[in-house]
Symmetry: C2
Subunit: 205 residues, 2 copies
DNA sequence: AATATTTTGTACAATCAGGCACAAACGGTC
DNA sequence: GACCGTTTGTGCCTGATTGTACAAAATATT
């Protein structure tokens, strides 16, 4: 085990491995190899072995990896061997879609609260969750010790809302607004911007 | 100019630069420096200068970069100085949200067709666009020479639909299904999976 | 039991990416 | 016109990342 300082680029691949392993597990497969896993997800076998070996010797020569065991290890490393309560701020179309998404369930997350500043939306329910006013955002975050938020407000409001989230104690923000967020170093941000992702591909067309 | 072989990691940053520049431009700013831009988006000034200089000498010592000029150059490099017709396959909540998203307009893309295999959805309109049957997917893609698609079908169907897209001529796929897609080397894929993005952050909590 | 096959974990090598620092160029001021 | 402050583009260096190859370990086969 070499837990001192794992590069972020390796951490970023672990969820990919985990997703593929869960897929294999769902199909009833019990064992796999770095070769098979690599073929599945388009990553070299050596890279997978090296990444995994950063955290311990989880495989066995000759037979590869036990899928249930490796899943358990990766979940534990990524801290998704528990359920994180997640909030959604901004109940436009994207917020709605995420609130109704059922893909979080077995991956360590549960959407527990929704927020918007539109009086017409406040009090309504989406997927059995009430939409709260932004006025109670900070209070609710602190009360429920929320650490993870998805931000689906317009770009013009994103930085200000982000500041509120951080001030209330949120440490991980999944940002759907097409703008950069300025946050303190102890807060993590991941950006999802379809136009940016598309532009990254058109270069090659 | 050194166009031989630009690393993908640099291409990936250009849309970020472009987005920030357009934001400045919208505020009426005419000039900027690598320093200012870097502070905005959390990237070192040296990196920005080096990335941009891969494509030519767009700046001027002492004064920095002309924003309209740099925007024009980046759009041209990324081939978004035109409008790409984009289709959405899979009209669940995410497909709906993307169909109604108005953030593509000035960034080089326009959603022009929607597809689903649910007879109840076929023929309905979303954002003034009719939902077509999957039966006509290939035909419509070829007819309209579609190169870019957003894939918002369930994971279980993603690979098969992806095959259809590729066979019909699509070269860039924005994949919202939580699964890896196997495509030929001349097809680009970008993955958007909220659970994966979240798991990448929980490690640090 | 001996041999062949598979597969891991890692040492080493090679490549890639990012930061530093500075000459050169530009605009403004005196 | 000389000087000053600013900012680019780039050469060099360092550190990070990936690929190669192989010993060791496990299983399968004869």
């Amino acid at each position: 085990m070499n837990a001192d300082k794992i590069p972020d680029i390796i951490i970023g691949r672990l969820p990919i491995y985990l997703r593929a392993l869960q897929r294999l597990s769902d199909k009833g497969v019990q064992n796999t190899s770095s070769q098979e896993l690599g073929d599945m997800i388009g990553i070299s076998a050596a890279q997978i072995r090296k990444d995994i070996s950063q955290f311990g010797e989880f495989g066995k020569q000759g037979t590869g990896y036990s899928i249930p065991f490796l899943i358990e290890r990766l979940q534990s490393i990524l801290k998704v061997n528990r359920i994180w309560d997640v909030i959604i701020v901004g109940m436009g179309d994207m917020g709605h879609a995420l609130a109704r998404y059922n893909g979080f369930a077995n991956r360590g997350f549960k959407v527990t609260m929704l927020f918007d500043n539109d009086p017409k939306k406040i009090g309504q329910k989406v997927n059995n969750l009430e939409i709260f006013s932004m006025d109670v955002l900070s209070e609710k975050i602190k009360q429920n010790r929320i650490k993870v938020a998805m931000l689906t407000v317009p770009a013009s409001a994103a930085q200000e809302v982000s500041n509120q989230l951080v001030k209330a104690g949120v440490k991980a923000i999944l940002n759907y607004a097409p703008t950069h967020l300025n946050v303190p170093p102890d807060v993590r941000v991941q950006h999802i911007d379809p136009a940016t992702h598309l532009q990254r591909m058109t270069y090659y067309l």
